[in-house]
Symmetry: C2
Subunit: 504 residues, 2 copies
Amino acid sequence: MLKIKKIALDTAPENTAFLSCRCSIYRAEEFTALKKIEIVDGSKTMLATLVIADDPQFIAHDELGLGEPAFRRLGLPEGAQVAIAQAAPPESLDAVRDKIGGAEMTEGQINAIIQDIAAFRYSHMEIAAFLISSASFMTTNEVLALTHAMTNAGAILEWEQPIVVDKHCIGGVPGNRTSMIVTPIVAAHGLPMPKTSSRAITSPAGTADTMEVLARVDLTTEEMRNVVEQENACLVWGGHVNLSPADDVLISVERPLRIDTHEQMVASILSKKLAAGSTHLLIDIPVGPSAKVRTRSEATRLRKLFEFVGDQAGLHLDVVMTDGNQPVGRGIGPILEARDVMGVLRNAPDAPGDLRARAILLAGRVLEFDPELRGGGGRARAEELIDSGAALAAMERIIAAQGNATKQYSLGDITTEIEAAHSGIVSAMDCYRLGRIARLAGAPLDKGAGIDLLKKIGDKVAAGEALYRIHSCFQSDFDFALKMAKKNPGVTIDVQVLGQRTTK
Amino acid sequence: MLKIKKIALDTAPENTAFLSCRCSIYRAEEFTALKKIEIVDGSKTMLATLVIADDPQFIAHDELGLGEPAFRRLGLPEGAQVAIAQAAPPESLDAVRDKIGGAEMTEGQINAIIQDIAAFRYSHMEIAAFLISSASFMTTNEVLALTHAMTNAGAILEWEQPIVVDKHCIGGVPGNRTSMIVTPIVAAHGLPMPKTSSRAITSPAGTADTMEVLARVDLTTEEMRNVVEQENACLVWGGHVNLSPADDVLISVERPLRIDTHEQMVASILSKKLAAGSTHLLIDIPVGPSAKVRTRSEATRLRKLFEFVGDQAGLHLDVVMTDGNQPVGRGIGPILEARDVMGVLRNAPDAPGDLRARAILLAGRVLEFDPELRGGGGRARAEELIDSGAALAAMERIIAAQGNATKQYSLGDITTEIEAAHSGIVSAMDCYRLGRIARLAGAPLDKGAGIDLLKKIGDKVAAGEALYRIHSCFQSDFDFALKMAKKNPGVTIDVQVLGQRTTK
């Protein structure tokens, strides 16, 4: 038996194990070929990718090193004794090979694949093989089976209420933090909305990152249930709740490969919502030239796929297309976005009107799920709940129930203003580029980093007038962001010549 | 600047770099998202996958750790100063994404992809994406462009002679060590045959593993050229010669994923041969129920693809289909196979007749490439060169020119015989299973491990009579091999009942 040693290496999301090439118990050569091992302790088995080490200080001849994710997942103390064995490749890989050859996968095959992926039995390469073979060609029935398989691979929440609502935006538009306004409106109205959100992976802030400025978000399933029972709603990070865990593994491969097919998006989103116990769901698809979905016809195809799978899975689904031409609100980055959200809820005179309008539109559509409400009355009801302060009060109760933020965050004080090169009217804003600049400035890792927009599309600007302000907490981040903004600020200004506009 | 530290971890084939999460020079967080970095020293740049470490003893705050392949490839001493930067994803990935979407790749796109793969700019996931998207669908023009791109991505050998021959077997049949007999026959005849071979990856022995029992095989390009100029031929390991290096990277992903399409096989084999400067090539496709190619119609499709690409690339190509129903010769494993090869060359009375016959068939076809030889005379000439001892003499000169084996290897002395469960006639032998048993016994890592076949198809056996002998150098390997052989020995014996046979 080998003794476990914790190795302080972050190899997430993969499990990595380290064996000495002079191991006295196993012949290291036997294990190199397949590179995947099973680590066996009396009660459980875990898979890991094996790395052979030749340094007795790093790994002794009777030790098995485990990188951080593997050590955490195995859950045994250092020095505990384990056996290892060559892992057989997962049998479900045969179905992946058939799919590569052009076959349609059966429900049973998709189930087996997703079970294996959720159990970390697939290597990154093998996950890529599954994703790519499906990206080329996937029937709507396969998407439905994939959604079900992903839902069933993790925890499933159940609620007593007959209607449990949710909303989800497919993303791509910075500052679009409507969930943090829609959720308290719906809670104030009285519908249950157990909202779980992700942290940003490629964007400057996710709802979980922004909510964390105001409240604790890393709740367990039990804590989350208590908050929802008490306040109708919550705004928590999905990371501790184990909903659709295969989705997290798939995303860890999709992102670096930039695979972003409709089929995988639909299965990813709907599996999370089904696992969260939602019965009614509003999907927000922003459409714009620099957003995730670029044309209305693409958005329509995506809408139909959401509707097909939602209908088959028994989810009441409404899809709304929104304006994705520019960021929503003014702030981009956790603290700045939290400021905008609270401004809208507080009816502050300087709160961004576009964020308020968008949140009311979406909240109205969610409220329409309530059979008690007169058809068409959702929007007015949403407006009323904000104006009266009821939504703000609901938000404050949700924050109190989740627990106050564990830290006081402050806005980054290394700042500068990016100025207009010439006078004119702002005609376009590049969502992708502004998001990148905010990320370089430090968001979302530094809550106080990001961009504060001072102009939006349609605004007049004079040469030298500030377009936006960059905030950073560290000089090196600031320098990176500034360099990118100087190269191309992501804001287009049309010159006005005798009443006519020309893009310069 | 960071100081380089060598880390004794075998992360081949990928480059891996290690940075402290408390690094004083770079913010580790900035680098986690993309996970790929450029390591820059004044003169060169290398890509590596980054792992974040949290152990000052492992990596100090001003160090950059490099796993073994990365340290070797960068070629700088420990303590040398380097800068790092986030690596941009390779631009050629856009073409891979188009291919996933069903597009045909242009020659330029395929070139760019292969250049990036050969320069280690692709992660394993990205390589899998390229392979899978191509596995679903690849035109013959794409295969041709891929072959050219792979050829041109590494060194290309040039020879003065107008005809440079080679032979290649697509593999799958244990003991099929004909190259080591064909090469000295051809050398004795006088045609140049600069043979490079691979080591076994999933089989119990490659030609390089077996030749290593007799001679040095890790020659440099310069040494190889000298041997060929002096002796007409060589039998060296391709690993030091840098022919079609992208192929080695692709294989490191194809093997674990068990992707084995005709298209990728043809590009892989022909690119190596074109890079080696061959003008005439014989391809050997063994066909059998447990071989790589299972039916004649599959072999015919593969033959046509070889012919198409070979013709377009200006390579004179001959394809021969051989019997892949059982192992060739008696030994499986480096020492046992070397024994059979030398037995045939020495005209030993106990040399395996099937190996001799197969080698003469193939050598005859290679000799037919010689315009000086009368059409149809190849086979007789090959036979004459073996019978006269000329081939043996050529082999001895090749061994002397390459240098004697650096080590004396001996046959594994932990042995047992696997016996027939009942009397009858051997009717089938499972190439795949017998190869697996030989590998478990220790081949090719232990040159003396493997299987010695005592019966072949058509032989009569009595119950309890030995079918084959297992040889191991280590008890644990022996136990693994024996367990597998006991479960199913891989040999089928038909029972004779009153003159009739029935498979039992």
